[in-house]
Subunit: 204 residues, 2 copies
DNA sequence: TACCATACTTGACACTGTCAATTGACGTTG
DNA sequence: CAACGTCAATTGACAGTGTCAAGTATGGTA
């Protein structure tokens, strides 16, 4: 190979490397995620990842965005068939999908929400991915707001809602909540938060 | 020096090393926190820290616990003179101290709430420190619960309360909330969460 | 005075991220 | 058609990391 790569070839190899990195992260933990290990696992030479990612930090950033998008899709899929149902019920489904994702992919979840370079601001792409992620729940809340169902502005309710989920997942990832308890807990917490935000909840 | 160190000497040197590590973390960021750098800054030889901490992970664990205790003390100090005031107001003070701590010591805050070894459970000492930290707010909520002021069990309200704070601080640490906004936001969010948890809030 | 337990230091190693020089395969051009 | 030049890909090298293991030195004890 000698000629300049087409844009497609570049993104293809990038996603190939990203997938490899993802499976290393899931299967062997964050500690095993090293550039050399990635190169070996991808069947390329040591330095090749640097042709597609400026840094290791850039690689991890890309992983973060990919993980975030995956989380967004998971949440969207959770409400895919329930568009007609109660808004509160939809939010419950979203929250549950969110927590399940955090439990199923603890390493990825932590990676997604742990910035590597605290000094530098997040890239626009990253910011966009986060907004898309938050929007899954927030869009529902905006609908509810327009229908006059909400006791507080939707972005604020979404903050509290998301923060409560995030806090619970973090607590569990630190081993401070037993696996068995967390699903009841998340359900009850969601109910409380939503009860706080909605003027009158639907049923049961 | 040749004779066995007394327990006091050991803990003295341990805390000396811990303080050094803390100031490195604050002044130069987490990336600069290396064992060699710590040794140099403490005026001892490369390997000396290993005489007092089994691992680098053990050192960081100790820092985590120290930071957690410092946070606990900060929160306690925030309500020290306000024991007689409204419970909701006390919780506001605690929450504000909490957020202020997170903003003032972002590196330490992140360290405290980021487990290094996700596989191993937290040590008893760490667990104890976390419980003490959570207890600052939870004790107030238990009082309120006994006075019949709460709409939900105190531990659950505390979960939501703490998770909302933690989520907000994390968001800011990732640069997703501007510094100027966060204090109004935290205040409003606290009000909402407490309004959710308390049957009837105090005043204003 | 000789010893020796023990705090501390230095040597060494495997491993990391990453820069710089090298290689090697192809389309272009003389 | 052959020499070239371009550029993906590889390998060499280096500083820096955590940490084991061997060495050094110091001061109480026999």
């Amino acid at each position: 190979m000698n000629k300049p790569l087409t844009g497609d070839e570049i993104t293809e190899k990038r996603t190939m490397l990203l997938d490899c990195a993802m499976s290393i992260l899931e299967n062997e933990g964050a500690g095993a995620l090293t550039v050399r290990r990635l190169a070996e696992s991808a069947g390329v030479s040591r330095q090749t990842p640097y042709l597609y990612f400026k840094d290791k930090a850039a690689l991890v950033d890309a992983m973060r965005i990919a993980g975030l998008n995956r989380l967004t899709e998971t949440a969207q899929a959770a409400v895919a068939g329930a568009e007609q149902r109660d808004l509160v019920e939809q939010l419950r489904l979203i929250g549950e999908a969110y927590v399940r994702f955090g439990l199923d992919n603890p390493a990825l979840y932590k990676l997604v929400f742990t910035p590597i370079r605290p000094d530098e601001p997040p890239t626009p792409e990253h910011k966009e991915a986060i907004e898309a992620n938050q929007n899954v729940a927030e869009a529902r809340m905006k609908s509810a707001w327009q229908e006059g169902l909400l006791a507080m502005p939707p972005d604020r309710l979404n903050n509290v809602f998301w923060a409560a989920l995030h806090g619970l997942i973090s607590l569990r990832n630190e081993g401070l909540i037993a696996d068995g308890e967390i699903f009841e807990q998340i359900r009850a917490d969601m109910d409380y938060v939503l009860a706080c935000g909605f003027i009158n909840r639907g049923e049961k």
